[in-house]
């Protein structure tokens, strides 16, 4: 879900002329990835004129600062910017570990996890409120941070038995609005494909 953020950001800025290299991070990481991200050895990495930038949200902010002539992803007002960065950080600090428990662990004791997961989604709904997007009239930093998790929503439903549309209708509506944008629809992984990959991943890891 992290590399997709970079793709959406570049697309929002109208940057299409770039090379995208697929990494097979489960099997083996390329020498280039290990050289460009020696600290974490993770994707995504943006290499701009030979210089690497790592960590998806840091990359998105970098893209916003470099290509600042169009489609701002972060507000210019310092207070609104800090607010957006807070919520994007909340996505990774809270959403990431809880959603991972849904598909990366065995089925027992899922009730607490499911409850926590829905609470987090409802927190996002509350933050979204009446707005079209978290960024206001157009997608912004928080939308980009969160929408990429939408490609896992079928996976969450499959392993939890939850109906996310029933639990969080406003959030699903927001996600569908985001998907109407080319930058998002062309960057998000297909939900069914993600589920296939996760089922395979669980077999490799020996998770029932």
């Amino acid at each position: 879900m992290f590399a997709m953020r970079v793709k959406i950001a570049l697309a929002e800025k109208g940057i299409t002329d770039y090379e995208c290299r697929e990494e097979n991070i489960v099997v083996s990481k390329s020498p280039l990835l290990l050289q460009m991200n020696p600290v974490h050895k993770k994707i995504p990495v943006l290499i701009h004129n030979g210089k690497p930038i790592c960590e998806s949200l840091i990359i998105v902010e970098y893209i916003d600062e470099v290509w600042n002539h169009t489609s701002p992803l972060l507000p210019t007002d310092p207070y609104l910017k800090s607010h957006a960065k807070f919520w994007a950080d909340f996505v990774d600090k809270k959403m990431y570990p809880v959603q991972k428990k849904i598909w990366a662990t065995k089925e027992e004791s899922q009730d607490e996890t499911k409850k926590e997961f829905i609470e987090i989604l409802k927190t996002f709904e509350k933050e979204l409120g009446d707005k079209c997007y978290f960024g206001g009239d157009n997608i912004g930093f928080v939308d980009i941070a969160l929408i990429t998790y939408y490609s896992f929503f079928r996976t969450y439903e499959y392993f939890s038995g939850l109906s996310l549309e029933a639990e969080c209708p406003q959030l699903i509506a927001w996600a569908k609005r985001c998907l109407l944008k080319d930058s998002v629809s062309s960057s998000l992984a297909d939900m069914d494909k993600v589920l296939e990959i996760i089922i395979e991943y669980r077999k490799i890891k020996g998770i029932a």
Binding site: I58, Y79, S82, H83, F86
Partner: protein, 217 residues
């Protein structure tokens, strides 16, 4: 007339970051000491999601998370810049700030403060992470070169608090012989007159931390 309040805790490295950033910019503020066992209604109102300090309240509007507050301060009061202007350099600073806050801090907690879990594995991890940080240090220089910058302020947790915590617990992973670069950077940083003046006094801090960790004097 601007109203600036900082909700913090005297001995906390996180609220000190905010105070140092404000002072470096010459910005006056009111500091409100919080009792973490009995958080004020204002704190809970200003930070309902995490309910943590520090919180900066600027003309009634709250900003939370210490590194985000520092960025906010840097963007609002532009004198004595804490972050570089070049986007690539800014991305590098944010990367290392996140490394210190997300990785090193968690490993310090697991290796030094945790009572359960695999302590020797946690210590090994702390050592590995400090080795990575060591590789980023330029000899006898601050992260900001000749002057204290964003990353130096973030790093005060490692330079000042970690050695104190280690001494209290009698548990040393960060040592001068294993990490000469980190210690040389810390020496330069802690020798800075402004920084020295704005750190919590060790003699007062130690008993507070001892009590927090349940260590008898």
């Amino acid at each position: 007339m601007q109203e600036i309040k900082v909700y913090g805790v005297w001995g906390s490295p996180f609220s000190r970051r905010v105070e140092i950033a404000l002072k470096m910019k010459g910005v006056e503020y009111e500091f409100i000491e919080e009792d973490l066992e009995n958080k004020s209604d204002e704190l809970l109102m200003y930070n309902p999601v995490h309910k943590k300090i520090p919180v900066l309240v600027h003309n009634g509007k709250p900003v939370v998370e210490s590194s985000l507050i520092m960025e906010y301060i840097d963007e609002t009061w532009k004198q004595n810049a804490l972050l570089p202007t070049d986007p690539y350099d800014r991305a590098q600073v944010r990367f290392w700030a996140k490394f210190i806050d997300d990785k090193i801090m968690a490993s310090v907690g697991a290796a030094l403060l945790s009572k359960g879990g695999d302590i020797s594995k946690a210590k090994e991890e702390m050592q590995e992470l400090l080795t990575v940080l060591e590789s980023e240090i330029t000899k006898n220089k601050l992260f900001g070169g000749d002057k204290v910058s964003f990353l130096d302020i973030i790093g005060l947790f490692v330079a000042y608090w970690v050695p104190i915590v280690q001494d209290i617990l009698g548990n040393h992973v960060l040592t001068r012989d294993k990490f000469p670069g980190i210690y040389e950077w810390a020496d330069v940083l802690l020798d800075d007159a402004f920084i020295k003046k704005n750190l919590p006094d060790k003699d007062k801090l130690i008993p507070i931390l001892r009590s927090r960790f349940g260590v008898k004097p």
